[in-house]
């Protein structure tokens, strides 16, 4: 559908070049017929090389061994096979929990916040990001369950009374966690599903066999009537607004698991926003990494995901990195300044202890690397470079949580009890959660249209080029 404004009839060649450049640059200005885009997305879903299956097979084996076997082994033998001890009662499982919740934040952030503020570059990859939210939360949930000493009784956390009328303890940050993470998991899944319905209907209309049955069931009978669109549009808008505070609350509550505790280094009022920013820091980098992989490996994705998107994500990453540095310094400064000797000991332990390298690596990867690279537009648009930066930032953010959880737990008010933390079965289980995330994502990429075609089309409808004086600029109409 051509909804573009007419270009000037007497355009200079250079202006035509400029216009062509703009169209090549921006997906929104490079419309293709909806049918073609549909076909491209369907094709991307259904074109699968042997490499994909090899990779998925490896991931499946890793999941079976590293996740399920080792977890079963740990359940059968107790947490003794992990590295936790006294006083380091929390180890990598909680590092992973926080890490995966962090990853999950980016999906919501990209999809909801950018939707609320009508940041148009979000359109082709909202779904890819939302999938990360859901699958990331699955890993976070698994990691929490791994962490529990008696996971077979984990349902006791659910809000229901025992036979004596005893409910869970809502004084406990962990009980809030239970509510918040469940709320977030449910709402992010619903938020993933709602915009997916029209795309499922689209897939239903152009598939056969088992896929047809699957999409038919999932599309729920959606046709696209005025009423259906109205309900859906309202619901999506409401979700976009409402899921943001839920997202902030989740990571804030996770941070309270630490901040509410009476421990040197943990008892910090800035942990809430610091954790939220940390989550975005790792999450956005992960989104960038996933998009780069999707773009490189899936058919037709180079049309939908363009350097402009990497550019946009790169900018966001830079801003978030700066914010992270701000919060980190804020936290560090106050902890350093207050002079409490245990906190002082803890900070020394962070920096000069046996894992001091980790502390420095965290700062370099989280601050120095993004700041030195992402300011440059060309570098931001370079997939390899952005992927590397994203990977380093994610490693750094994992380190950050490692420093906050097991390393900080080494230090308490009784030097007599100080111990080191040596991970045991945590290592395969961490590999297991990463593999499980990748596996879920790979399977989803075969089953779910990764690009919300209707949103792209809607965006392309709204975009046009307009001349202001001699300059042709991109113009966006507000269709809602």
């Amino acid at each position: 559908m051509a909804v573009l404004a007419n270009s000037a009839t007497h355009a200079h060649t250079s202006e035509q070049d400029h216009e062509a450049h703009l169209r090549e640059e921006h997906l929104m200005l490079d419309p293709r017929p909806r049918g073609e885009m549909n076909a491209m997305v369907m094709e991307s879903m259904q074109t699968t090389s042997w490499k994909f299956w090899v990779a998925a097979g490896i991931m499946a084996i890793l999941v079976a061994v590293c996740l399920f076997y080792y977890w079963g082994y740990m359940i059968a033998n107790g947490l003794g096979v992990a590295g936790v001890n006294r006083p380091i009662y929390w180890g990598i499982f909680l590092v992973n929990t926080v890490f995966w919740i962090g990853i999950s934040h980016a999906g919501t952030f990209v999809s909801a916040l950018l939707r609320v503020f009508k940041a148009e570059f979000r359109r082709p990859f909202t779904r890819a990001a939302e999938l990360m939210t859901t699958f990331g939360l699955v890993q976070a949930g698994l990691s929490i369950f791994m962490h529990m000493g008696r996971v077979w009784l984990s349902y006791w956390l659910a809000p229901y009374p025992n036979q004596r009328g005893l409910w869970p303890n809502f004084h406990s940050p962990l009980a809030w966690d239970f509510l918040a993470i469940n709320t977030y998991l449910l709402s992010s899944t619903m938020y993933l599903f709602l915009p997916l319905i029209p795309d499922l209907a689209m897939a239903r209309d152009r598939s056969t066999g088992w896929r047809k049955t699957l999409y038919r069931i999932l599309a729920l009978g959606f046709r696209g009537t005025e009423g259906e669109w109205t309900h859906l549009r309202f619901a999506m808008n409401l979700f976009a607004f409402a899921i943001l505070p839920v997202m902030f609350s989740v990571h804030t509550i996770v941070s309270w698991d630490f901040a509410a505790a009476m421990r040197p280094g943990w008892s910090s009022t800035i942990f809430g926003p610091y954790f939220v920013i940390g989550a975005l820091q790792s999450g956005l980098s992960a989104v960038a990494m996933v998009l780069i992989v999707v773009r490189a490996t899936m058919k037709n994705m180079k049309y939908f995901i363009r350097p402009e998107h990497l550019d946009g994500l790169g900018k966001l990453m830079l801003i978030i990195s700066m914010s992270w540095a701000y919060f980190f310094f804020n936290d560090y400064m106050v902890q350093w300044y207050n002079g409490d000797k245990w906190t002082d000991a803890l900070l020394h332990f962070h920096e000069e202890g046996p894992l001091g390298w980790m502390w420095y690596a965290m700062l370099i990867f989280n601050v120095a690397v993004p700041w030195l690279t992402l300011w440059n537009k060309n570098w931001r648009r370079n997939p390899t470079l952005l992927f590397t930066v994203g990977l380093l930032v994610n490693i750094a953010m994992w380190f950050e949580r490692y420093i906050i959880v097991p390393t900080s737990l080494s230090i308490n008010r009784f030097p007599f009890t100080y111990q080191f933390y040596k991970p045991g079965v945590e290592i395969p289980l961490t590999i297991g959660t990463i593999s499980f995330f990748i596996l879920l994502y790979m399977l989803a990429s075969r089953l779910i249209p990764l690009v919300p075609v209707w949103e792209v089309q809607e965006g392309q409808m709204a975009h046009s080029l307009r001349k202001f004086g001699k300059e042709t600029v991109v113009t966006v109409s507000d269709l809602e």
């Binding site: 230090i411 007599f416 080191f420």
Partner: protein
């Protein structure tokens, strides 16, 4: 909880006890004709939901603390102290607490067995066969030798009577603790200085200044619970808080509790004590007695590695004290001149004038059964036995209550001598090293399943016979050694049968107690044996209400001339080796899992041995924590992990004794190192081993073996000083 018993209740109880004893008499041979007596008014045997408490005597060491064991439905649940018992007044040490792990040890020998020496597969026999084998030995008295432990005393008395009657050599008894306490030396010194051999009673509780020469009385020394109580009393102080100075090269647990630790070089105790004597005498009386005259104070301080001013300050403290006390401990006496050291220290007490005074030195009360001090065998006597074994003159060796293969210094060659004995019978409850090298193991009951008594020789001022009764029925097919010997004597006939005309162990013990029936001044008075016996069991022994301490007299001790000298160390190594009994494991605790897991008080090491080394020394040798080193003396070598600790002289290293078993059950085996392998055979004038006079070499092995410590290693300098 134990209940307070009024005397009237008690008399009622005696009646019931006697009646029930009478009723149960006819119950056949399986049950005793006398029954166990609960500590409080509790139904005997099982009563659902109710605990029954039995009084007995602890056998984890020879101190003879009274225990009250809580049992429930025939199981021993918890050990508590007997609050009336004069030795421990309701308290226990860690080893006493863990005695349940002896009773319920998974590695106990469960039935009489024979086996090929060194083999760990035992083949079961029955008790009749066992009795026959022991009876054979009794038929050749001259070729039979007994080696017994320091507990229980009733068995030692029985064996002594038996040997005397049949003409066998008198039984020898010793223990690793008596070795490390150099008890013979102390007794001998008492004989020389005070004219009476005795394991003296040091009234720590009433002393206001105590100088201890290596006496680790808070750990294992003689009667640690009693002395710990004395220590607490001293600290609380009647007039002022007592002051403790510990003289030893390594800061032991006792030294950690001392107000000052005087880290003197091992072997210089005589010099230091004599120098103190001279300085004190000069301060107090203006001139030193002949005994201390010859000592050069400055030289003594120099030899000991102590600043002269410090020594003088100590002397002043001692001289100004109202109730000063000087205690000679094992590590000080285990030197080549140990006997002289003991004499000087006892004489120093005489100089201070504390003999027979509160806070001073007393003669321990005699046991109610004998008048004489019964000392353990010295190493000299043990060596004589070993020689005899080697010569082939002994055809049967019967071992009970000791583990000589493990406990004796390897250099004495006990193990080799054992091979020359045709028949070795072990009566051990556990498959210890000696039992493994025996032909037969006829397991005795463990302490909590046994009858018996212990003649308490130290730790209390009251005359005391501590009584033991089984708190539970024997868990396995074990048999009291007393009963085995009684049965064997009957089978052997002749003099043996005549000497032991007792139906069983109870009758034998009652025979020994007969003299106490109707005795005056006791905790209880009973007119006849059944009543006495019931109360004896009920209260866990018989003791006099009032102290009966003797006042030592040292008429001429100070007049003797003495030229004090430093000890002659053995070996050419560069480090003094200090072997000390592990405060937690002591001689036989290694097979009790909870004792293994109980951290050492000074190092917090669990489940293993370590070599204590000053960080300065470690740095010189390029060693750090957990590095495995080879410690070698002229007699052997062991490999052990290094533990750096500033509280030891740089020229001294220390290894705890208690680990390094090659047998003795799953919890003890192949764990740590046995420093007994390093000890020589040098003895002092009293015949005790100069175990503290060995010098060793230390070599790096390059290996590392982390020690399990309760204390974390992640200390940071910044967090070092906790608030």
């Amino acid at each position: 909880m134990t209940e307070q018993l009024s005397r009237r209740d008690f008399l009622k109880l005696v009646g019931t006890g006697a009646a029930s004893a009478a009723v149960l008499t006819g119950c056949g041979p399986a049950s005793r004709y006398v029954t166990r007596e609960p500590y409080t008014k509790m139904p005997e045997y099982t009563y659902n939901g109710q605990s029954t408490y039995y009084a007995t005597t602890c056998r984890e060491c020879a101190a003879g603390c009274g225990l009250v064991v809580r049992t429930m439905q025939g199981r021993a649940i918890k050990v508590e102290g007997n609050k009336y018992h004069p030795v421990n007044l309701g308290k226990t040490c860690a080893r006493g607490q863990a005695t349940l792990h002896s009773l319920y040890n998974p590695d106990r020998i469960q039935e009489p067995s024979s086996h090929v020496r060194g083999d760990r597969d035992f083949s079961t026999t029955d008790w009749d066969t066992a009795t026959g084998i022991v009876a054979e030995a009794l038929k050749n008295p001259a070729e039979t030798a007994f080696l017994l432990g320091l507990a229980p005393d009733h068995l030692f008395d029985l064996v002594s009577d038996l040997c005397k009657a049949i003409g066998a050599p008198a039984p020898l008894r010793y223990g690793a603790l008596s070795l490390f306490e150099a008890r013979t030396t102390l007794g001998e010194a008492s004989r020389i200085v005070f004219g009476k051999p005795d394991l003296l009673f040091f009234d720590l509780g009433n002393a206001d200044v105590t100088f201890s020469f290596g006496a680790n009385f808070l750990e294992t020394w003689i009667s640690p619970v009693a002395y710990t109580r004395g220590f607490a009393q001293m600290r609380r102080g009647t007039n002022r808080r007592g002051y403790l100075v510990q003289f030893e090269a390594r800061m032991s647990q006792t030294a950690m509790k001392a107000d000052e630790w005087a880290a003197i070089l091992p072997g210089t105790e005589e010099l230091v004590a004599a120098a103190l004597g001279k300085l004190v005498a000069e301060q107090k009386f203006g001139s030193a007695p002949a005994l201390f005259e010859a000592v050069d104070v400055a030289q003594a301080a120099d030899a000991a590695g102590l600043p002269l001013e410090t020594l003088e300050r100590y002397a002043t403290i001692l001289a100004q004290a109202q109730n000063p006390l000087v205690i000679p401990g094992g590590a000080a006496l285990g030197q080549s001149n140990g006997l002289e050291i003991a004499q000087v220290i006892l004489s120093l007490n005489a100089l201070l004038g504390n003999l027979g005074k509160p806070g001073g030195v007393y003669h321990s009360p005699a046991s109610p059964l004998t008048n004489s001090y019964r000392r353990p065998a010295s190493i000299k006597e043990i060596s004589a036995l070993i020689e005899k074994l080697n010569s082939g003159k002994i055809k049967t060796l019967i071992v009970h209550g000791v583990n000589p293969v493990f406990e004796l210094p390897t250099s004495l060659g006990f193990e080799a001598a054992l091979a020359k004995v045709p028949t070795v019978i072990s009566l051990a409850s556990f498959p210890d090293e000696t039992a493994i090298l025996a032909d037969y193991v006829f397991p005795d009951h463990t302490g909590l399943e046994s009858w018996g008594y212990q003649q308490v020789s130290a730790g209390t001022g009251q005359t005391l016979l501590s009584g033991a009764q089984p708190v539970v029925a024997p868990y396995y097919n074990t048999k009291s050694t007393t009963d085995v010997l009684l049965a064997a004597a009957a089978v052997a006939g002749g003099k043996a049968a005549a000497a032991l005309p007792f139906k069983d162990e109870i009758e034998f013990i009652q025979g020994k107690l007969a003299g106490l029936v109707g005795a005056e001044g006791g905790f209880f008075n009973a007119a006849d044996m059944p009543s006495f016996w019931a109360e004896f069991q009920q209260f866990g022994g018989w003791w006099k209400n009032d102290p009966s301490l003797g006042t030592p007299s040292a008429a001429s001790a100070l007049e003797k001339k003495l030229t004090p000298a430093a000890a002659q160390p053995e070996g050419d190594g560069e480090f003094h080796l200090l072997v000390f009994p592990s405060p937690i494991l002591a001689e036989a605790g290694a097979n009790k899992p909870w004792l293994q897991e109980t951290p050492d008080p000074t190092t917090t090491v669990m489940w293993n041995s370590w070599l204590e080394m000053n960080p300065v020394t470690a740095e010189e040798l390029g060693l750090t924590d957990d590095d495995v080193v080879r410690v070698s003396s002229a007699f052997g070598e062991v490999e052990v992990s290094v533990y750096k600790v500033p509280a030891i002289r740089p020229e001294v290293v220390a290894i705890p004794f208690g680990q390094g078993h090659t047998a003795y059950g799953r919890y003890a085996e192949n764990r740590g190192a046995n420093p007994g392998k390093l000890l020589g055979a040098q003895i002092n004038a009293a015949g005790d081993l100069a175990f503290a006079g060995v010098k060793v070499k230390i070599e790096k092995t390059g290996k590392k073996r982390p020690l399990s410590r309760l204390e974390g290693r992640t200390r940071l300098e910044a967090a070092e000083n906790k608030g």
